[in-house]
């Protein structure tokens, strides 16, 4: 980052000297040139992301009947209805819980694996490759796979648990049919798919910790736990922050894996916000209502995003 900011400073203080080369026929300032390069991507995002978002917000103030083709401005009525609905509040809580479960488990497992890989060094490379592949698998496939593993009567998980004596009969735990635990069960494919991401990012961070820092700590008599909590984790803080944020945002938007496993059931116990919004608009055709939910969901995500962005962006960006 520093090199590009230095560059900027140079450009701002002293405009490009023509000494190197005579000006071209149509000289364009660096500013204009940059704008020309950015414009296509900016236009794409404006048309296909920003404009749909504007439409979403506009729709949220309307009562829309897609079949009859009518729409009527109703002010904040959709919002009052949404905020008073227990469906929405429960779905929001579930989304939060789901995100916390996914990110916590992924982080703990990912950090554990990263520390193991780091302790064993370069010779663990082949195993790291194996660790990588779930990242490439479609969430739909992962969802179906885990549904298959978790089926009450002939799923492998319950069959194994019965074999080792934890369960009396395979049907004793209904991973995906018991409303009390289903939100944890539907998180499994997500955790399985992306723990690798945590591991890789944390592993790369660990590799950047200078060896002599840990050596010095060891000489001072720090035990493994002290090394982890006093030295490794504090040094990894920026890496951990980015990893948690990237994964947290993805987890909060999870859709595929949950739809495939339970379609939000049983009794809506795994209906997160993405699913609720999808169902409200596609199934029930309540586009105005769904747009209000979508807008609130978006605002929450952006709030989190902006807060965290400021957290990450500050160090290194300005002056280093």
């Amino acid at each position: 980052m520093s090199s590009s900011t230095d560059h900027l400073v140079h450009k701002a203080v002293a405009p490009p000297t023509p000494a190197a080369k005579p000006p071209r026929r149509r000289p364009m300032s660096d500013k204009q040139f940059a704008l020309v390069l950015i414009l296509p991507a900016a236009a794409f995002l404006a048309v296909f992301v920003a404009w749909p978002l504007v439409k979403l917000v506009i729709d949220s103030f309307h009562d829309i009947a897609p079949l009859a083709g009518t729409r009527r401005f109703i002010g904040f009525d959709n919002y009052t209805e949404v905020l008073a609905s227990s469906d929405f509040l429960h779905a929001a809580l579930r989304t939060l819980l789901y995100t916390v479960v996914v990110v916590t488990l992924e982080f703990s497992l990912g950090l554990g694996a990263a520390l193991l890989f780091n302790a064993l060094g370069q010779r663990s490379r082949v195993l790291r490759t194996v660790f990588l592949y779930p990242l490439m698998i479609a969430p739909v496939v992962a969802g179906l796979l885990w549904r298959f593993l978790l089926i009450d009567n002939f799923g492998l998980v319950n069959a194994l648990l019965t074999k080792v004596g934890i369960l009396d009969r395979p049907a004793d735990i209904g991973w995906l049919s018991d409303p009390d635990i289903v939100l944890i069960s539907v998180a499994l494919p997500d955790i399985w798919l992306t723990t690798s991401f945590m591991t890789l990012v944390l592993f790369a961070g660990l590799q950047n910790i200078p060896g002599d820092v840990l050596e010095a700590a060891k000489l001072d008599g720090a035990n493994a736990r002290q090394q982890l909590f006093r030295i490794i984790l504090p040094l990894l803080r920026p890496v951990i922050a980015v990893a948690l944020i990237v994964r947290g945002i993805d987890a909060a938007r999870a859709f595929d894996t949950i739809v495939i496993q339970t379609n939000g059931g049983p009794e809506s116990a795994s209906t997160t916000l993405s699913l609720l919004i999808y169902r409200t608009t596609v199934r029930f055709g309540e586009q105005g209502l769904a747009s209000a939910m979508g807008t609130l969901y978006l605002i929450a995500m952006l709030a989190v995003a902006i807060v965290t962005m400021r957290m990450i962006w500050r160090p290194g960006k300005g002056q280093s």
Partner: protein, 279 residues
Amino acid sequence: MTAVLDRLATKRALLWALLLGVVAAYAFPFLYLMLTSFKTPSDALAVPPTILPKVWSLENFAKALDTPGVTAAFINSITTAVLSTVISLVLAVPAAYAVSRFGTVSGRVFIVVALVTRMVPPVAIGVPLIGMMKTLGLTDTPVGTAIAHTTISLPLSIWLMVSFFEAVPAELEDAAKVDGCSRMGALIRVVLPVVSGGVAVTAIFAFLASWNEFLFALLLTAVKAQTVPILIANFQTQYGLQWGPMTAMATLYSIPVILLTLVLQRRIVAGLTLGAVKG
């Protein structure tokens, strides 16, 4: 002295055993899916389940490939993913270059907006996008789906490419300019070849984002442009619970990307860890 060495060796062996166990457990679910796809369809539903097939059979694959629309779905998945990758790269590479090289106000605003775009839940823009694609006549076409997928992959591509461009020393282009290259010429002839590895990584991620995407494909396609993830999802509703053929289809769809991972793993790891570790 030897006692200490022995203790170290034991500790190391234990760590290796632990790591092997963890990796095996992690790799096992998909291995089980693949093994199941080689069982007979009835065997796949056996109680209690077995890990290895009793009889190795290709019946599930035959059934999966016999599903109506399966060839079209594979072609659609490839077309959509390639289109989306191309659009993503064509838009992201110049923009990321400008952001990392010129550090203008517009560039800074743009990169922040692009990153914020990554936070938008697809379900929030999905329904408005349906309407827009209708207006453009792009519903149920690979182009329409590819555009929707690009809303996901473009911010990611820009983010990755900015990091790659930042690793290129500015002196390189300055030298090229002194030698008489225009700014555009310096970008195309001097900088792009240097970051070609980065472009490849970005292409992989853009491709995967589209290849694995489900929600936009579900909203924007009906029959003609249906991609494989939708077809796989339909195995459970349309045909009851056909686990055997479903596992075969899932295996067929995942094998190409898993092979890609193995071949390009170094680059993929570099791409994954780039942004986070630099921060």
